[in-house]
Amino acid sequence: MPDRANGGTPEASGEITNLLRAWSSGEHAAFDRLAEQVYPELRRMARRYMKNERQANTLQSTALVHEVYLRLVDVHKVEWRERAQFYAMAAQMMRRVLVDAARARASKKRGGSAAKVNIDDTAVLSPAPDRSILALDEALTALSRLAPRQARVVELRYFGGLTEEEIVAALDISPRTVRRDWDFAKAWLSRELNR
């Protein structure tokens, strides 16, 4: 169990739990307030994860949204469907966290000291340089206009690290649909990015 001392206080946890239940039962306004609370926590934990990662600690990245959930939500008061929806929201936040960080970097570089960096795509250690996450974000947004569900599946799996089961619960679709959506959206996005 994570220690609550560093994370949400019991009061905050109660508030978040209420927000989650409200959102889950259809109050769209609750989403933004929920996001406000989750975004900084997720970013903090992601940073900590990266630090551990650098020390070759084999933390499971998929555990990130689970951990945020355990820290912020009173688990005894929510049902499994609400939990799935929380994961879905957290996946969306994770996408924002990474996209925001990539934007911040890009702007810093333009004005920063290490100017004139021309990233040569054939010689990059990590398969995802700053701009690729931005390009993916754009392509995913475009896809969501044509096929919102398929785009959500990508968001949940790629950004949230959700398992197939969790995606099934969050979107209320069959496992087969999850797999088909994933296969198709992946192929689609891959083609968009390699055009």
């Binding site: 650098r54 004139k116 790629y158 690290g161």
Partner: protein, 815 residues
């Protein structure tokens, strides 16, 4: 794009993916060309396996790191971001403003204050920078900036093998491909006298342009010093010792072969998805490196073939490893990855299990036989399970006692699971407690107590077997119930059978065992295992002990009965194959064993049998390969490898044979003959004297006498004594007859020699290569009878070879 068009594309994409290849072609052919092109493009994209497969945080997490801490520039390099951090320093991505290229820049902070290390570093860096090879990460230059050293090198696209391994094991074909890359790189390094010393998955990079090796020669010899020093201090080692060769662990000099050991460990990890040497602590891991073998891998013939290469590379002594990276790559090249399922086959590590003799808590003459025969029966029923390899009862017997040494068991008997048990009789009840323990750690995995009436031994045995299977958490496919065909129908008969098994362990007990099997079969004539054992008793008694004239007929009849009752009874097939080799049908024996091995390829005794059967067929290379396969599965399984080497006249390898620790004594007859034929008669005589002292069976005494006469060059006195022993069937063994003929010819008695060799071939010993290559037969080369004999043997050997290939032997044994 409108959404209607989009739906069309999506629907066709799924339809095409879920169709068979033929259906897909038909489907796409019916579609308009623009739509078809769209979908074909998407289908091709769908094959980009890696894209999006790992969560975003793993790809893009670095974006969240604090960029303020980065140095702005080093020399003429502008730092753009941090790529990683390891024991040796930090790696940055940097831009070379002069050459307009992006590089990886590695800091070497450890060297800052150590002048000697600095000098060594420069020396090695110069050597490393001189290597230019497609599988090696190119070093561009060494930069010195304000007293700190940096290496500028090729920036790679892709991921390290360590990262890849986190997603699970690789298929055989992927493993082989990466293996080639690593070995090609090692070959280039070794050619320049550079030993990598720190080969590990984090240093192997998988890029779209192939494998790239990093960090060679730079870790330097200080690594071993760090290891020895730091382990004692903190239990931790800077870097990982997981891929170190035993000589590195011991702090002994390293050479190219130490890198081959690491390459073997990496190949193992790719296939198995787990490290070759593991442990709860570094000390345990190093202990495993020094003393244990990783489990054999199974899954497909190609998996087994790669595993054989791995095993040679992981030999504890450098001298037993492949001679060079090129030789190891050649071995890997021989692995045939057959298209289709095999290409993607994943390996499974076999669980190695021994069932030790049970400990009798209160001696009781009525039930003591169960101490051996109950665990033996459990081991036999467990050995049918696909991902288990069960050690023989002979091995188990070596570790009897109330407190087995689990470390010795893991290292010497090569096991990772041990079944222990106690037996207690009270009244007409029998109480058995069985435990499943992990070795060498000693973790108790399950403990189970059964109490049953004395009369119900089979249920007792069956209960324990099932419980062990449950606790081993084997793959689902292995969840096999013991064959109903093997269940006895009569309790008393089963007890007699178990008693007989206890006697059948020694030559002296065989006759009593035979009688007990017969009594058991009177009560339950449908119990196949008893028939099989009875067949073995008849054969062994006739061959080595009393030479009763119709022993072979009885043996064959019993084995036939066993197989009629249960055609899949592995035990019966193994015994039958031995008999077939005796009675001049080595090809049938070979095919029988190949068929069994194709059914369950992890029974070492089947391959041990093939060593024998292939040799009788004159297929020496295949016999050697069968030996390698048998030992891969069980390093202690007895095989007749030595006579094969003798027949090949490969005296160097014959003299170098080191018998595994658990195979006691053995006889040195083949070594004696080898020494004599190689002209080392004095050494042969000494070995013979030792043999005479060790041997107890009368039949061996007469053989020793003949060998003495041969060494004394008295062929006329050889094989003349008509003793009781000449009735023993071993004198009819085609191989024995051949050797006698061979030695007679060596002594110059060609007339008798030829007669013996003729008899041997007629009795099913197709020793063509030996007949063609031995100088002992040179004087007979123009003899028409000899030539006819060679032609006969050649034809028989050819037939056997064709049959071997048709039975899938090449795939099974990798040749």
């Amino acid at each position: 794009m409108n959404s209607e068009r989009f739906r069309e594309i999506e629907a066709l994409f799924h339809a095409a993916r879920e169709a068979t290849a033929d259906e897909r072609a038909a489907l796409l052919a019916r579609t308009d060309s623009e739509l078809r092109r769209e979908v074909e493009l998407l289908l091709a994209e769908g094959k980009r396996g890696e894209f999006l497969e790992r969560p975003a945080i793993e790809h893009a997490g670095y974006l969240l790191e604090d960029t303020a801490a980065l140095p702005a520039r080093v020399g003429h390099y502008a730092i753009t971001r941090k790529l990683g951090e390891g024991g040796m320093g930090v790696v940055y991505a940097a831009h070379d403003g002069r050459l307009e290229r992006t590089v990886a820049l590695k800091t070497m902070p450890a060297l800052a204050n150590d002048e000697a290390a600095r000098k060594r570093f420069w020396r090695e860096a110069r050597a490393a920078a001189s290597v230019n090879h497609p599988n090696i990460c190119q070093i561009y230059e060494i930069v010195e900036d304000e007293g700190e050293l940096f290496i500028a090198m090729e920036l790679l696209e892709g991921e390290s093998l360590a990262e890849r391994l986190r997603c699970g094991p690789l298929s055989v074909s992927e493993t082989v491909r990466v293996g080639f890359g690593v070995l090609a790189a090692l070959s280039a390094l070794h050619a320049r006298g550079i030993v990598h010393r720190d080969l590990k998955p984090t240093n192997v990079f998988l890029t779209p342009h192939g494998v790239k090796l990093l960090d060679f020669g730079l870790a330097g010899p200080e690594l071993s010093l760090i290891a020895a020093d730091a382990i004692t201090r903190t239990g931790m080692v800077a870097g990982t010792p997981r891929y170190m060769a035993p000589e590195q662990v011991r702090g002994e000099p390293v050479d190219a072969r130490s890198d081959l050991f690491a390459a073997g460990a990496i190949l193992f990890e790719m296939l198995a998805g787990r490290p070759a040497f593991a442990g709860q602590s570094v000390v345990e891991m190093l202990d495993a490196t020094l003393h244990e073998q990783p489990p054999a891998l199974t899954g497909s013939p190609a998996v087994a073939a790669v595993d054989r290469v791995i095993r040679r590379a992981l030999a504890k002594r450098p001298a037993d490893r492949p001679l060079s990276a090129d030789v190891m790559a050649d071995e890997l090249r021989k692995v045939r990855v057959v298209d289709g399922d095999d290409r993607m086959a994943l390996a499974r590590a076999l669980t190695r299990l021994v069932v030790l003799p049970f400990h009798v808590l209160r001696p009781d003459p009525e039930t003591d036989f169960l101490a051996f025969s109950l665990p033996d029966a459990i081991a036999t029923s467990l050995s049918g399970i696909g991902s288990l390899v069960v050690r023989s009862s002979a091995t188990a017997a070596r570790f009897a006692g109330d407190a087995p040494d689990l470390k010795a068991l893991a290292a010497t008997a090569d096991v990772d699971r041990v079944v222990l048990g106690t037996l207690l009789r009270s009244g007409d009840q029998l109480r058995v407690t069985a435990q499943l323990v992990e070795a060498p750690g000693g973790t108790l995995l399950t403990s189970y107590t059964v109490q049953s009436p004395l009369g119900d031994l089979f249920r007792l045995q069956d209960d324990i077997t099932r419980r062990v299977v449950e606790s081993l958490s084997l793959p689902l496919a292995d969840d096999v119930a013991p064959s109903a065909l093997d269940a006895p129908r009569n309790d008393r008969a089963y007890e007699l059978y178990l008693r007989a098994n206890d006697f059948a362990r020694t030559y002296g007990g065989l006759a009593r065992a035979r009688d007990l099997y017969l009594r058991s079969l009177e009560l339950d004539p449908r119990f196949a295992p008893a028939w099989a054992h009875l067949g073995r008793c008849h054969r062994v008694i006739g061959k080595y002990i009393d030479g009763s004239t119709d022993s072979e007929v009885h043996a064959e009849e019993a084995l036939r009965r066993a197989l009629e009752l249960n055609p899949r009874l592995s035990l019966a097939h193994k015994f039958y194959a031995n008999l077939e080799a005796d009675i001049g049908q080595p090809e049938r024996a070979m095919l029988r064993l190949l068929a069994e091995a194709n059914r369950h390829g992890n029974d070492p005794e089947l391959f041990a049998g093939l060593v024998h059967a292939c040799r009788y067929c004159g297929l020496y290379e295949q016999s050697v390969a069968a030996h390698a396969e048998a030992r891969r599965l069980d390093p202690n399984v007895p095989t007749s490898y030595e006579p094969t080497l003798l027949m090949m006249r490969d005296f160097d390898r014959l003299f170098a044979v080191v018998r595994p620790p658990l195979i006691a004594g053995g006889d040195d007859g083949f070594r004696v003959i080898g020494l004599g034929l190689a002209g080392q008669r004095d050494q042969a005589r000494r070995a013979l004297i030792d043999m005479r002292e060790a041997s107890r069976l009368p039949v061996f005494q007469s053989w020793i006498q003949d060998l003495t006469r041969w060494l004394d060059r008295r062929p006329a006195d050889m094989l003349v004594e008509v003793s009781v022993l000449s009735r023993v069937k071993v004198q009819d063994d085609a191989e024995v007859i051949f050797q006698q003929g061979w030695l007679l010819c060596d002594g110059g008695d060609y007339e008798r020699g030829l007669r013996y060799v003729q008899r041997a071939v007629a009795k099913g010993y197709f020793a063509v290569p030996t007949l063609l290559n031995s100088p002992q037969f040179d004087a007979l080369r123009n003899d028409s009878a000899f030539r006819a004999l060679v032609m006969d043997a050649e034809a028989a050997r050819e037939r056997a070879l064709t049959a071997f290939r048709e039975a899938g032997g090449e795939l099974l044994l990798g040749r």
